[in-house]
């Protein structure tokens, strides 16, 4: 087994007013509609600072999920301050968003392009605002942070036939060690757990939670059937995966073997340490299209649930990172690793070549998590990857059986 870690492992975090701690001190610059995207991107590019990130929502129509996601990511513990950029006529409630960010104890400013005088003026005003936010965020106190205050999310992307036998179970070993240290771990994509619902429900800490887990996978299957496509990309087949349930079984091993403490939805913060399943498939009849149009849609939902770090396993070779939280990439396939070594943090393909055991790679992933939490840049972070995507969705709040931990506490 991956060596036990205890809670005395500590690193330096940023203290936020809500009591949470961050491992980064990022300033987010957010467009509130696609029409403000260019101006916002120019502000971020001209600021030329690795810790100033571009995020945003493209839609003009109102959407409760998109608002909650923006609120959650702008008040994420890795975020020190926010600049909101609005065109002026879109539906996003910019005043409410601004006041919620300020109420969280963070410096935040709002620019409305139509009021500021257009593109050039807004870019100039935005750069000045970023400078003020940089001055403010630099004052945030650094405090010791412990593993039981860390939230780690996991996702797989560009999976192939090796993912489920090297990188994914190695992340599972790392998750087991983190959960044993009372850290919080989140796995997701119920659409990629189709076929695993029964064995997963058996791991729930209460039978009622188990029933909720089975119901949420059934919901995912219905949703994907209506879409006409499973969560299965052509590259999965190129890499030897034949069916969705085969991909699911491999993806499932990222969760490790800890009991499942709860079922959450995007924006819900796990109430205590343990392993949680994130339900990323919208509720109700399908309305806005595919549940997750690409991997970063899921990554940002893991981040909206408080994830400080993301463990991304890949077989075919994804290169993405993310805005707000660093992404650590674990490559499952040794041939892919040789082609894309410059994009990977961990070579789990060594397991297939008899050069390392699952436990050894699990331990290496754990040490990477601790190093990145301590301030070391992950490979994708160093390369400047800050992908972000947010689209329309609809969710109902989680039911009372989904978080037994909260009820016990």
């Amino acid at each position: 087994m991956t060596s036990p870690v205890n809670n005395t492992v500590s690193f330096s975090g940023w203290q936020r007013a809500d009591g949470r701690k961050g491992i980064r001190n990022v300033i987010v610059v957010a467009y509130l509609v696609e029409c403000a995207h260019h101006v916002t991107r120019r502000i971020v590019n001209l600021a030329d600072d690795m810790d100033v990130h571009l995020i945003g929502f493209p839609g003009c129509y109102p959407n409760q999920y998109a608002y909650e996601m923006m609120r959650a990511v702008c008040t994420h513990p890795n975020v020190g301050g926010a600049l909101l950029v609005s065109l002026g006529c879109e539906s996003m409630n910019r005043e409410k968003l601004l006041s919620e960010i300020i109420a969280s104890g963070r410096p935040a400013e709002l620019l409305v392009i139509q009021e500021a005088g257009g593109t050039k003026t807004t870019i100039e005003l935005g750069l000045a605002a970023v400078k003020r936010l940089q001055t403010e965020t630099a004052k945030v106190a650094r405090v010791p942070m412990f593993l039981n205050e860390l939230i780690v999310g996991t996702i797989c992307g560009g999976s192939d036939g090796t993912s489920g036998i090297s990188a994914n179970p190695a992340v599972g070993r790392c998750f087991d060690a983190l959960v044993a240290a009372d850290a919080t771990c989140i796995f997701e994509e119920t659409g990629e757990l189709i076929g695993c619902e029964t064995i997963m429900a058996d791991r729930a800490i209460t039978p009622e939670l188990g029933a909720e887990i089975e119901a949420c996978v059934a919901k995912a299957e219905h949703y994907y059937r209506v879409m006409g496509f499973g969560s299965f990309a052509p590259g999965n087949a190129d890499g030897g995966l034949t069916t969705l349930e085969e991909k699911s079984m491999g993806a499932y091993s990222k969760s490790g073997s800890s009991p499942i403490s709860g079922l959450i939805k995007p924006g819900d913060i796990p109430p205590a340490g343990g392993l949680y399943l994130l339900d990323v498939v919208p509720d109700g009849e399908p309305r806005f299209g595919f549940p997750n149009i690409s991997d970063n849609a899921e990554i940002i939902e893991l981040i909206a649930c408080g994830s400080h770090v993301i463990l991304f396993t890949t077989g075919r070779g994804s290169v993405v990172g993310s805005a707000i939280s660093p992404v650590i990439k674990v490559c499952a396939n040794p041939e892919t690793y040789r082609r894309l070594a410059g994009d990977m943090d961990v070579n789990a393909g060594r397991i297939l070549e008899g050069e390392a055991t699952l436990d050894e790679v699990g331990e290496e992933i754990l040490q990477n998590v601790i190093a990145v939490a301590s301030g070391a840049r992950s490979v994708s972070e160093e390369l400047g990857h800050q992908e972000f995507i947010l689209t329309y969705k609809a969710f109902e709040p989680i039911g009372p059986s989904c978080l037994p931990v909260r009820q016990i506490a």
Binding site: D160, G161, T162, G195, F232, L241, T243, E245, E246, G354
Partner: protein, 115 residues
């Protein structure tokens, strides 16, 4: 790769190109590229591959008939739609999902036939 990596590879122990993930499985997973004519052992029987098999792909551990459930990790991952011989490639051409049909770049229509 660099020369030092090549020499490190030369010193590595010889590993079987296919692995069994669970005793109940009826497929094996390729972990090292198999070229046409390469020989390897399945449950003690020497098989010579008629085709190249890439890392991550599956081969039949035993002859499977149409309708047979395919087991990987000890769990069902779909069914055969054509019979397959021991040691032959198991993939989209002879196997299907029991949940939602898979698509590829060229098979994206409703019945997932070539489009």
């Amino acid at each position: 790769m660099t020369q030092s990596a090549d020499s490190a590879a030369a010193q590595k122990p010889v590993i079987a190109p296919v692995i069994l993930l669970h005793p109940n499985d009826n497929i094996l997973v390729c972990v090292k590229h198999i070229s046409v004519g390469d020989s390897f052992s399945i449950d003690g029987e020497l098989i010579t591959s008629a085709i190249a098999i890439d890392v991550g792909h599956k081969i039949a551990r035993a002859a499977l008939s149409t309708g047979a459930k395919v087991y990987r990790y000890g769990a069902p991952i779909g069914s055969m739609i054509e019979p397959v011989a021991k040691g032959a490639h198991v993939h989209m051409h002879n196997m299907k999902s029991d949940y939602i049909p898979s698509h590829t770049r060229t098979r994206q229509n409703e019945d997932r036939s070539e489009s």
